[in-house]
Symmetry: C2
Subunit: 347 residues, 2 copies
């Protein structure tokens, strides 16, 4: 990876605003810059902070869009997948037993096994589950991989479409080609000259302009102009995320809590390196965040602030989510020593 050549898009260093600040005691200790795009299904930028034309790797925030193929290909129907499986296909889960057991059951139903997943194994992200696994002297498996639901969706789709299972994560595999095409269609902008790389779980990543990513999410709700089978697939995915919010992330986490509290009107998904995507259901509005420095704590707070700014929460919902709008920092002794908070109105 020495001296990787940089595309013109990525080399641009637009100055994005400070979106999030981290306090400790009497002062701000750290600051996070970034950009936010609020876009409708027609591609109109309704609000923005910073550069929304920049191409970013969507990372795991793209999963609800990738799940479209699982449904519109007919694979979900053929194998009788329900809300739980579709929510897992959209998930970066924490490896809790509810996740690993559901993924294992899904694979079994399809006639596949954890060994068919090419995502690799890592310890569960949920600290309590990780600790319990190690105290029981257990081993990390592909089921614990936060992407195991997405990969189960990939192998299920490949199986249904008669595509080779081996190598389904490679950029040249027809499944990945189809997924790329889906994102390009949904975002409505060419991705020919954006970045290319590999994700943490081995699948290809490609750059998507922040505004196109927001538009793609908006179109999951406002399906004007989409083929009927894609529109139907979008509706099923949105229903599944709201019905099974714990499956999309894990107990008590931001993504899950927002959908538990406001699941009739909000869907959202996190991605690595400071990316977040969300959707205001019924309003046809997509929202995307990219934190310049790639920090998750900032992406979460920036998305919470953007949703609040857009009136996504009632006062009661806002109260229920207050610990995500201003996140306490606790030291080892459990004392509150600062907060992570929005640096102001995000747009």
């Amino acid at each position: 990876m020495n001296e990787a050549p940089l595309s013109a898009v990525a080399a641009a260093t637009a100055l994005n605003p400070v979106l999030v600040e981290v306090t400790r005691g009497t002062v701000v200790e750290s600051r996070h810059r970034g950009s936010i795009a609020v876009v409708d299904a027609a591609g109109r930028v309704l609000h923005q902070a910073g550069d929304v034309a920049q191409a970013v790797y969507p990372r795991s925030a793209i999963k609800p869009l990738q799940a479209l193929l699982l449904v519109e290909s007919g694979a979900a129907d053929r194998f009788g997948l329900g809300d739980k499986e579709l929510a897992l296909a959209c998930a970066s889960h924490r490896g809790e037993s509810v996740h690993t057991e559901a993924v294992a059951a899904w694979l079994g139903r399809v006639g596949l096994s954890p060994g068919d997943l090419e995502c690799g194994a890592h310890l569960p992200y949920d600290p309590k589950t990780m600790e319990a696994l190690l105290r029981a002297d257990g081993q990390a498996t592909t089921l614990h991989n936060n992407c195991s639901g997405k990969h189960s969706g990939f192998v299920t789709t490949a199986l249904h479409m008669g595509l080779p299972l081996k190598g389904y994560i490679r950029p040249e595999h027809p499944l990945q080609q189809k997924l790329y095409q889906t994102i390009e269609e949904m975002g409505g902008e060419s991705l020919a000259d954006t970045g290319r790389g590999a994700d943490g779980c081995g699948i290809p990543v490609f750059g998507v302009p922040l505004r196109a990513l927001a538009r793609a999410f908006a179109r999951l709700d406002d399906t004007t102009g989409l083929a009927p089978e894609r529109a139907a697939a979008a509706a099923r995915i949105l229903k599944a995320m709201a019905a099974e919010p714990v499956m999309v992330s894990g107990h008590g986490n931001f993504v899950t809590r927002v959908m538990e509290v406001a699941g009739d009107t909000v869907r959202l998904k996190s991605g690595a390196e400071g990316v977040y995507c969300a959707l205001l259901v019924g309003r046809g509005i997509g929202i995307t965040v990219k934190i310049d420095d790639g920090t998750g704590r900032a992406a979460e707070v920036a998305m919470a602030a953007a949703l609040q700014r857009l009136g996504a929460f009632s006062p009661a919902q806002e109260a229920a989510l207050s610990a995500f709008l201003e996140v306490p920092i606790r030291n080892v002794a459990g004392r509150d020593v600062g907060v992570v908070r929005s640096a102001g109105q995000p747009f």
Copy 2:
């Protein structure tokens, strides 16, 4: 911590340059801004990137300066502390058995116990040690706390000086007052109007201008004008860090590896929220880094680039440290997918 009032110093949002970039595949995925101060013992700024007048919380990077009191008070001599203990007093260690056993032995020699440390307990930072502890169904103790060596230094000093042990972490405790005074003297700038807060391990933190922090480090080597007992203490601390580099961090980590490879000429110490301090021994030059967004991966690479730029490494040393100058990013499957690297000459 709601609506913490911000001091004028901290509210300043100077635009610091991009110091570090994170690539994935063909493009830069994330960027880190920050500042670097290169200062001599007289306080002359020799090189700088960004705002070096800004006050930052030094966090754990301040430990070698805090260790001065342990030696100059006479506590180290009275209790026969050697290089190992003095290096641990400067450490953010990874909780490996070499660390916890040495801290336990130190406390035993002084007649104190892990329960006297007010730092709280957390699982070891070293992943292998953490995993082994949990597989053996063990418990985290104050010994595993990365600051347990510093806290052992504090209680040893308090015991020697006849100060109360209980509450030694409180801002009003005479020990903390002495430590504050030491930093202000070494940096040569008033800290009266900088930030105030609590650190992860419970001790007070206070803002120090980045250039003053660099000057304080420079004076550990060029001791012109220091009281003889402080100059002697500085020499002992620098000797201890070079003699016991594993004690200052842990096997294979950046801080330890740099001192293993170039320990005759370089000392360095990491701090939370993107702070690093270093010293070019024999040249009387202090170097401090603060990453705006508080990210450790960037602080490490920025410090490596600054040391390289200042000619701290021979070609052979540079080769030995290459994985820290450009840090590979590996995905779950172990494939190299990007790097963390300096965005260019840092100054």
